[in-house]
Symmetry: C2
Subunit: 155 residues, 2 copies
DNA sequence: GGTGAAAGGATAAAATG
DNA sequence: CATTTTATCCTTTCACC
């Protein structure tokens, strides 16, 4: 992991579909050198994947909420996390310090769906209570913060 | 936006580097048909970009926190959001309902850095108080939840 | 909308410095 | 480690349906 690797990672974070030839031009290496480096970054687990980013509103997921999950006394964290993972509406799940066991990010189409999802969350064994914060607007999300990045916008 | 588009989106969410030929095989179209559809999805703003996903711990960002931003009485939300965007440690920023104006996700290397970042956050004009929740572990993050997905893993 | 063909480019896997 | 090379595959455009 040298400066070149970090440059390549930064480039792939802003444009995950950049070709190896492009990356090579950006960092001053041949395409095959970049290819080999990226392969190593992937197999060493530094790069875990590549995702298209979609505007949630345009795919029918206009409602986002952050939900704190309060555990019951008998809760098994791993079981709760596994149950949370089974709900497709739960996009992210963080185990946290504090009264809550987890904070999850939920994306659904409507507030009705949100209500249904919250009912499902509260029915999970080990969940005592939920504390929901509705997201009014996403100002920015998932910015690459590691190295130098001029713009938060992608592609 | 038909079922084919949704399939293509799902495929690109799980593997943002899938080739058009790959996508074509997955959805039963020719590569050029997929190419045209993806182009339209991009220019219509449905697909906003492609990002490599990196293991934060392996790039020196082992500490994650969720920070609620309490506004002062005179706060201008847009100015606060702009100031938050200027801090590279702030990866995501959500305007929320409730006492807090924003919830942000912060990623830093150490708890020392977290403390420094919190000081900077509280110094922002319009920020009265912060409420920090330290993330102990990320169980999963950024899963594609839209359509059918067998595995949350990418690539 | 889709297909298929063809030129130009990119990838992947060698051998080499 | 990077480069160059090579065969193979992919991208991109275009004529056509």
């Amino acid at each position: 992991m040298d400066a070149l690797d970090r440059q390549i990672i930064a480039a792939l974070r802003t444009n995950g579909r950049a070709t190896y030839a492009d990356l090579g031009r950006q960092v001053g290496l041949s395409a095959s050198a970049v290819h080999e480096r990226v392969g190593k970054l992937e197999s060493s687990g530094v790069i875990t994947g590549y995702h298209a980013v979609v505007d949630p509103r345009l795919v029918g997921l206009g409602v986002t909420a952050l939900v704190g999950i309060h555990p019951s006394d008998t809760a098994d964290d791993d079981e709760v996390a596994a149950a949370l993972a089974r709900l497709p509406e739960v996009e992210s799940c963080y185990a946290v310090a504090g009264d809550e066991a987890f904070v999850v990010k939920v994306r659904v189409a409507t507030v009705d769906d949100l209500e249904r999802t919250l009912v499902r969350l509260r029915r999970i064994d080990g969940v005592a209570r939920t504390n929901t914060t509705v997201v009014l607007s996403t100002r920015f999300e998932g910015r690459p913060n590691s190295p130098e990045e001029p713009a938060p916008r992608a592609e």
